[in-house]
Amino acid sequence: MTDGHVLEDKSHFRGVWVFLEHRKQGLRDVSVQLIGEGRRLADLRAATLTGVLLGNGVDDLAKHAIGYGLDRVIVINDPILEIYRSRPYAQVMAQLIRRHKPEIVLYGASKNGRDLGGRLHAILETGLAADCVKFDIDAEGNLDMIRPSFGGKSLAHILCKKHRPQMASVRRNVFVAPPHDPKRTGEVVPETVELRPSDVDATLVDFHEFTKEGGLRPEEAEVVVSGGYGLGDPEHFAMLQELADLLGGAIAASRKAVDSGWVPKMLQVGQTGMTVRPNLYLAVGISGAVQHLAGMQESKKIVVINIDPKAPLFEIADYGIVGDLFEVVPEMIRQLKALKGGATGARTAVPATAR
């Protein structure tokens, strides 16, 4: 069930689309961030920016989405589309794309976004560049899709010269969310697509939502305390958690710590993990492989604690301590507790021995 490989004239394809992923009556952060970048690209191409929203009873959400910078939103309402499911969503998107012929389609590289993009690009037999960090328009009007490669040591420029649409996915927090303008006007375009019950082949039988008690997510935290290979042991992450709690932040980890099995992958910051942009990123025992940098280099303030003065991460640090993390981190905890312990928070409350 794939398109033939006779390529249609590129000029028939116009417009920039953003696939809008939603949950719990709201848009996902990454979709909102993509509207901002999509707006910039649409303006460069002098084209319309369209959001695509699939769901059940999502008209209000569609209207709201326009406020981020969309010109219009195509909406499909159908009970089958109430939650994300690979096959029906891919079939609907394929039909819409064949019908409207957008030039560019952007997806958030969330789990579902990658699930969808991967399936769709094979059905449409067109190019999809994953985890892009930047876009440009080249001299011929192609979308220049820039993504890290070779383990993050390089940036590759991907072009999809002959096939349309050009598709790309982007991770959360690579772009910044645009402001919301409730007065912005745009078109909500309801459409229908042929869907049969047989298109539903997978059922969601259970769902356990993660609660906030499960720990603050690094992508949402203002402070991130991140541990690397230098920690040496999964137990030492407890120390980082204590520090994070004192700072009101979340813990995260480098790829090496994840690969060593000390922490789950969902805590990984880096090119193949999360991108975070907290106010404070505290890197403990992380040397600073390029892939890691990609995930945190936009943090407002970067603090590096490492025993090796030559650790690459020091080069992008705002502050750093060269020292043994097993002495420095407990000392930080101690001093923070002392600072907090004073009822007024006054510095004079710190006992003389701490100085």
């Binding site: 993660f210 609660t211 720990g215 999964p234 099995g261 000390w262 922490v263 789950p264 969902m266």
Partner: protein, 454 residues
């Protein structure tokens, strides 16, 4: 703590895997554990004699885990592989043998040169184990043995009181009528087979070796060698800082193997780190003269079994034979180190014993006892027994400190011509003997004992 209860840090528990299909247990006539020289020689011999043979090596390639001084005596290869010299990865053929005595800053070296050293059955050559072991294992494969690497055999597979093969994991067994243990000095299977009591420190030495890189031309210049020629050194005295043992040096093509074999009991008694010992040895002026400018590129340490013939393990049991270092087939008599040749010869003997047992009706302990006969025929046991005094002799501390020092003093007095009046050699010797405070009778006995064991 983590969303979704991902539970990091919990210990991993393997699920129980059922034996998928009992009928599909692989089987061979013989399994050889360890693809070092002993194992490969055994596998080669067995394969040639029509045994379906599996050769299992725990390293990712044969030779990756092996360690030796650096020189191989070629005589067992001459019979096993008449064309051996055509493609064997020889570093250099040894044409010069040296015996050196060291004190802190002086050395006395006796050098023996002879073209006969590199001819015929007496040939010896320096080698690198990674290349040599791989070559010999390939010969075993060419003869029909199957080689599997990267697997560590954990135990013998026993059922109903009989050895049925080998076991790697509860559900990973391979069946065989005969298992040949060629695991090397740190063999665990020999112990598990009940064939050897745990080694006491007295029985074990530590071998340590560094590979020092030098350009071939430099080696040839400094050692006075031709392109394919090599030299071998044995060092006594200061090299081991009074510990029982000795040093060695072998020239490879583009590197030199330098190392020590010392009593592990002495090491722990005197609380010396073996790396420090090696460094001191390497920094001795006599050694530095030869190795100056070289780069240490490799370092290894290994156990060396020092069992005299009186302390050897039993070599065979029902369905089991032991070969090579695992059987303690090593000679260290003070002026020579031999292990690889004995290993190869014992591997061949094991193959012959298996053939004899097959003819006699099965791999029983009684039938496999023929192994001893074949070892004797190849002078493996004979040589070991002859040198059985060597370990005891090697434990004579005077050999390592007092006598070398005495010799050096004698040499110094002999060679110093400073106008203070030349003495006669005989007087010098007597004088130094008194100075060394060793009763003349004891010296005589030591001399006799040493002569007998050599």
């Amino acid at each position: 703590m983590w969303p979704g209860g991902l539970g990091f840090g919990k210990p991993f528990t393997r699920p129980a895997f059922p034996q998928w299909d009992r009928e599909s247990v692989e089987r061979f006539d013989a399994i050889v554990v360890g693809a070092g020289p002993a194992g490969s020689a055994a596998a080669l011999t067995l394969a040639r004699k029509g045994f379906s043979t599996l050769l299992v090596e725990r390293g990712r390639a044969p030779g990756v885990k092996g360690m030796f001084g650096g020189r191989i005596y070629a005589w067992p290869l001459v019979d096993l592989l008449p064309e051996w010299a055509k493609d064997c990865p020889v570093e250099r053929f040894v044409v010069r043998e040296n015996l050196a005595f060291l004190t802190e800053d002086a050395s006395l070296t006796v050098s023996f040169d002879s073209p006969k050293l590199a001819q015929g059955r007496g040939t010896s050559f320096t080698a690198l184990r990674s290349k040599f072991d791989a070559w010999l294992a390939k010969k075993a494969q060419d003869a029909g043995a199957m080689l599997v690497t990267g697997i560590r055999v954990d135990d013998l597979w026993r059922e109903g009181g009989r050895v049925r093969g080998v076991s790697v994991a509860p559900n990973d067994h391979v069946a065989a009528d005969l298992v040949v243990l060629a695991e090397g000095a740190a063999s665990t299977l020999v112990r598990k087979a009940g064939l050897k009591a745990d080694m006491e420190p007295r029985e074990v030495s530590v071998g340590i070796k560094e590979t020092v890189e030098l350009p071939p031309e430099t080696i040839q210049d400094r050692f006075g060698l031709g392109e394919r020629e090599g030299a071998a050194f044995v060092y006594a005295g200061y090299a081991s800082m009074g510990l029982r043992g000795g040093g060695f040096l072998y020239t490879n093509k583009a590197s030199v193997s330098l190392g020590l074999v010392v009593s592990s009991e002495d090491l722990s008694r005197k609380k010396i780190e073996v790396q420090d010992l090696q460094t001191k040895f390497r920094m001795h002026p006599a050694v530095q003269r030869l190795l100056r400018g070289g780069k240490v590129v490799e370092y290894s340490a290994h156990l060396v079994p020092e069992l005299g013939a009186g302390m050897m393990p039993h070599l065979s049991a029902d369905g089991v034979l032991v070969v090579g270092d695992a059987a303690g087939f090593l000679i260290n008599n003070g002026y020579t180190f031999r292990g690889v040749d004995l290993a190869i010869a014992s591997g061949v003997a094991a193959g012959e014993a298996a053939e004899a047992a097959r003819t006699a009706g099965g791999m029983t302990k009684a039938n496999l006892a023929a192994y001893e006969k074949f070892l004797r025929a190849r002078n493996v046991l004979t040589d070991l027994e002859r040198f059985r005094r060597a370990p005891l002799y090697m434990k004579n501390e005077r050999l390592f400190e007092v006598y070398p020092r005495m010799l050096m003093e004698i040499a110094e007095r002999m060679y110093t011509v400073d106008g203070s009046g030349k003495e006669r050699l005989f007087d010098v010797v007597l004088d130094e003997a008194s100075a060394a405070k060793v009763p003349k009778l004891k010296m005589l006995l030591d001399l006799l004992q040493g002569a007998r064991s050599m």
